[in-house]
Symmetry: C2
Subunit: 306 residues, 2 copies
């Protein structure tokens, strides 16, 4: 079993490549859930849903988020009823959130909901939320503390960030199967997701980081940063608050206690030594993934390293 | 102020006519809420919504229920996720239920939600649920007790009905403003809704029936039964369980303690005497409402009687 740790968009690209290169039933995925948010009283798990939709082949490749062929009739009507609609929830997507919310209210766990959703949509890979407990990424700005979605979607990562907190993480536990997956994995892949708010959130759940460090299997990461800039999103801006340089070397430093190999962009040839000094082996590759062919090629290169 | 008591579809036609014939701000409407149901964890108030959509000019005239130009993407996706989708909830309609559910969970009352919804959609008439308490119509069949929507929508009123119960009605109170509206109304109109499950449910809320009987204003009803058959729905089948004949005379008998006038179909000329004997004045009219012109004409005739 190959284990992958991931956030949403960025990581989903590599996940898609991995699921195409190996038997998807042999892929287990641990997802960030600290970006989960309540909109209109509905529980939204953006990263889990992105991964499920991607593996079900239902994702919108063009937009890079949500479902293909999506409509927004419910959201528009919520706007007419005076609700804030800056978080774009499509009609089909809402079915997921409506079902999740009902199941959670009936006492089911996030992990049970993820299992129900991925099974219903024919996804063969096991998808585990990092925790069944409520953990909430809070972004501290000069103007106060806001939720991750407020920062990321509503304010389009414009505010200067002073700190990133994972509210509830201290008291949380890994979801059922998470520690066993880390322990039993033949190899572990850290997807090119935000090292602070996606992978960092997963690592904030007590027990997961230790389990990774203790793993005897190879842990291979793919840098989400190329030449000092994020491939997508605000990762490069957020790394500073965790005392990490906004570079592939910063990524390696953030993961140094458990990472064996970091696949970095060919553009970052010059910082290989810095990464080696952290005890992480850098491997150069074309890590930009635009097409499915790019995703599969990078997945193959990563799989060859484990 | 003119007060109207109504259920959904049937009554909505007369409500539409009334709101077109008088200043809609002078029309107050008390709606049945015993058909309310929870679907997918969302609180649906079919009668309130039908009345609001109708008065907002958003209703689907052709289908006779729901919103015009409606799509069903969320419901279809809920079906893909393994949910039962026999109750047809459109995408725009779902916005109403999502908002209502959130507000109720935050501690708001059904009456506050109705006020928020009708205001947001520009409806000038005040819309009052009969009660803010949970009252649930239960239909007792040979095969056990089912909800009203299970009976009405899913089983298309096929089962033989032994009894109709209003669970929770005994302990309920009229919503704020309901008794005052009955007391203060210049005239009261009983819409051609199901006398058992719509108007009957309203009358089951302690205090409303007495207030109607004590009203000094004229109370005028329109029969939902013509020549022994319901204009729409299963009213004629349900009246027997309340010991009422399935006829306009049965309607008059059910309302005799508070009704002054009952507008009946010209087809029912022959049963006028039976209605007079109940102390209710029968008035013949064409009470079938197909077009807006029909609705307005009947509304004018009803208004002329009060």
């Amino acid at each position: 079993m190959i284990l992958a740790l991931t956030g949403g968009t960025g990581g989903a690209k590599l996940i898609q490549g991995l699921a195409a290169e190996i038997d998807p039933a042999e892929l287990t995925i641990i997802c960030n859930t600290a970006d989960d948010a309540i909109f209109h009283g509905l529980h939204v798990s953006p990263d889990i849903d992105t991964i499920i939709y991607t593996l079900a082949g239902l994702n919108d490749e063009e937009k890079g988020w949500g479902l293909a062929g999506e409509s927004f009739a419910t959201l528009e009507q919520l706007g007419c009823l005076g609700e804030e609609v800056w978080f774009k929830l499509g009609d089909k997507d809402l079915a997921t959130h409506i079902l999740r919310t009902r199941l959670l209210r009936e006492g089911r766990k996030l992990s049970e909901v993820a299992e129900r959703l991925r099974t219903a949509l024919g996804v063969k890979s096991e998808i585990l939320p990092m925790s069944d407990d409520r953990i909430e990424t809070r972004v501290v700005t000069a103007n106060g503390e806001i939720s991750f979605q407020e920062y990321f979607v509503r304010q389009r990562w414009a505010p200067e960030v002073k700190q990133v907190l994972f509210a509830g993480a201290d008291q949380s536990s890994p979801a059922p199967g998470v520690l066993a997956a880390v322990r039993d994995a033949a190899a572990i892949i850290i997807c090119p997701s935000n090292p602070v708010t996606s992978i960092g959130a997963i690592l904030a759940v007590p027990g997961i980081r230790c389990a990774l460090a203790e793993s005897k299997s190879k842990v291979v990461g793919v840098s989400p940063i190329i030449a000092g800039a994020s491939v997508s999103g605000p990762a490069h801006r957020l790394m500073a608050v965790k005392d990490l340089q906004a570079s592939a070397a910063g990524v390696a430093k953030g993961y140094a206690d458990f990472l064996n190999v970091l696949v970095i962009g060919t553009e970052d040839q010059g910082i290989q030594t810095g990464i080696e000094e952290l005890g992480v082996r850098p491997v150069l590759a074309n890590i930009r993934m635009k097409t499915l062919a790019d995703k599969r090629r990078l997945a193959r290169e990563v799989l060859a390293l484990v």
